[in-house]
């Protein structure tokens, strides 16, 4: 009976595994084959030479890196202000987060589109980057982490005459490295996969990121699935690589975030 149960358990486990991983494997298979069923890299070569996937990839990388760097800096500043200067910002913070959680993106996208157009920022890197430079989840992560740090170090530095910025960047930042790592990974993945805002705030190829390029490719009449899946593979690989390397941190970050909310 026990043995039967064990077999059943592993069957369920592997069945779900197959169902979950199958579409990604399917994507990989299609990307590596052509009209003949032999394995080939031709699709990848094609999308980078005949299509502008090099440009899209570069755009995705640049935007994701700048957004990640911005978040590490700004979330650190905001998280520190919240953790140590409680009276000032706590109320404001609470209400703003409630609003951000409740307000759906589709309601702000039209005004942001008009705003960007009026400022001459429509269809530029600024449009891709500016709205995302600091994220509530990132601020939250940093704040939680700083509140666990002892205040004695900062106080000692303050007695020695260190300014607020010195304390923040010389003492707090190095201590926050674990929190900043989780933050960086999450922000990078979110930015990399982002579709709605880049899609609506840009129009020319010059600023097109990978998800936008892929979504627009399907619109054409003749679809070459093999090339499309090669492009998808390029878009998926960095995220899966980052996920597999930082799996533990990502998962703990997600569950922690959910519990605190």
């Amino acid at each position: 009976m026990k043995r039967f149960r064990c077999i059943l358990f592993y069957c369920a486990l592997c069945g779900i595994f197959a169902a979950m991983v199958f579409p990604l494997i399917w994507m990989l298979l299609l990307s590596l084959t052509g009209n003949s069923s032999q394995f080939t890299m031709a699709n990848f070569i094609y999308i980078f030479s005949a299509n502008h996937f090099g440009l899209y990839l570069a755009n995705s990388v640049v935007v994701a890196l700048i957004v990640t760097a911005g978040n590490m800096l700004f979330c650190l500043m905001c998280g520190y202000a919240l953790a140590r200067r409680k009276i000032i910002a706590d109320r404001f913070w609470f209400y703003t987060v409630m609003i951000v959680l409740m307000v759906p993106a589709h309601i702000v996208i039209i005004p942001i589109y008009i705003l960007m157009t009026k400022c001459g920022l429509y269809d530029s890197y600024a449009a891709l980057i500016l709205p995302w430079l600091v994220s509530p989840i990132g601020i939250f992560l940093v704040r939680q982490y700083i509140t666990t740090l002892p205040q004695s170090l900062e106080e000692a530095a303050r007695i020695d005459g260190a300014g607020e910025l010195t304390i923040l960047f010389r003492i707090i930042m190095p201590l926050c490295r674990p929190a900043l790592a989780i933050l960086a990974v999450q922000v990078f993945m979110t930015s990399w996969n982002n579709f709605l805002f880049p899609f609506i705030l840009t129009s020319s190829e010059q600023y097109r990121t990978l998800p936008v390029a892929l979504a627009l490719l399907l619109g054409y009449q003749s679809i070459d699935w093999h090339q499309l899946m090669a492009g998808s593979t390029v878009a998926v690989i960095p995220v899966i690589a980052v996920f597999l390397i930082f799996q533990k941190q990502i998962i703990s970050g997600i569950t922690a975030g959910a519990f605190k909310q």
């Binding site: 169902a19 579709f195 569950t255």
Partner: protein, 290 residues
């Protein structure tokens, strides 16, 4: 000891204040203002319409079917996603070798870009695609042009994909909830002679309630906002069969550039989301404390 003045604290906090004001609060207010006008991209003059846009929307058959589809989407996916993700979490909440491997694999679809997932499934659902052939082999007689080009199957096909993608994410949250249940409770109930089912029914389920509530609320907020998969897979078609509330906003606001009308639609969807979350909180809370 020298403490920094209040001004410094605000200065450090200013990135968030600016982002919030520019990209959340201002748009939120501005889109309400827009919804009361007939502002268009190239219009030379703008008129105030009062609530006329809202009235027009409620009698717009496109908007009606968009709302209907949004509700079908939310009510059709959430029960499945919740039960499946709970099942997966229960499965993974055992001690066995390779646990973190399976957990990572189950979570993989959730970290993959929605655009990519939608592309893969467009292929799987298309005529001659893998799932299409599978359905054929099972004798299910799939629609001639693939699942996404038939009015009957397009929306259910996208819903099925969403259940499949989201399950891994909510599994992770359930797993966190399960692991926070103290083991002593299980031991105590075992000593008291409870069967496994009784343990699940009287220990696990009640203690998972807060997490389940959280998951249902978050999931319905997200499901009311489906856009990417609709855009990639069907563009609202065939014949409005997959037109959802948010897709309607996009179609009117950013394709026809009828900003006022689209903003009014966006506000109606927003109010529905807010009311639905509030009701869920109230209903599920009283249900559970009773």
């Amino acid at each position: 000891m020298r403490y920094p003045g209040k001004g410094r604290g605000w200065l450090l906090f200013s990135p968030w204040i600016l982002t919030f004001l520019l990209f959340w609060l201002f748009p939120l207010i501005y889109s309400f203002v827009l919804s009361l006008t007939d502002y268009r991209l190239l219009s030379t003059e703008t008129h105030s319409l009062g609530l006329a846009n809202y009235g027009k929307l409620l009698s717009d058959p496109d908007f009606q079917s968009a709302l209907k589809n949004s509700f079908i989407f939310v009510f059709g996916t959430i029960p499945f996603t919740t039960v499946i993700s709970l099942g997966m979490a229960l499965l993974l909440n055992n001690r066995f070798r390779g646990r973190s491997f399976f957990r990572a694999a189950y979570f993989m679809p959730s970290i993959t870009a929605m655009v990519v997932m939608a592309l893969i499934f467009s292929n799987l659902y298309s005529r001659g695609g893998y799932l299409y052939l599978l359905a054929q082999m099972a004798g299910l007689n799939p629609p001639a042009n693939g699942f996404l080009l038939s009015q009957k199957t397009a929306l259910p096909a996208i819903m099925a994909m969403d259940i499949w993608i989201a399950s891994g994410y909510y599994m992770l949250l359930f797993l966190g909830g399960l692991q926070s249940i103290p083991l002593e409770l299980y031991e105590a109930s075992r000593i008291a002679g409870a069967s496994r089912w009784q343990q699940f029914r009287y220990v696990t389920l009640p203690l998972l309630k807060p997490m389940t509530l959280f998951i249902i609320v978050i999931n319905s907020i997200k499901s009311f906002q489906v856009f990417t998969e609709i855009f990639v897979m069907t563009k609202g078609g065939p014949l409005n069969a997959t037109l959802t509330g948010v897709y309607f906003v996009y179609e009117n606001g950013l394709r026809r550039f009828d900003f006022g009308y689209a903003s009014a639609a966006a506000y109606i969807v927003f109010v529905i989301i807010a009311v639905a979350s509030a009701l869920q909180f109230k209903f599920l809370k009283t249900e559970w404390t009773a």
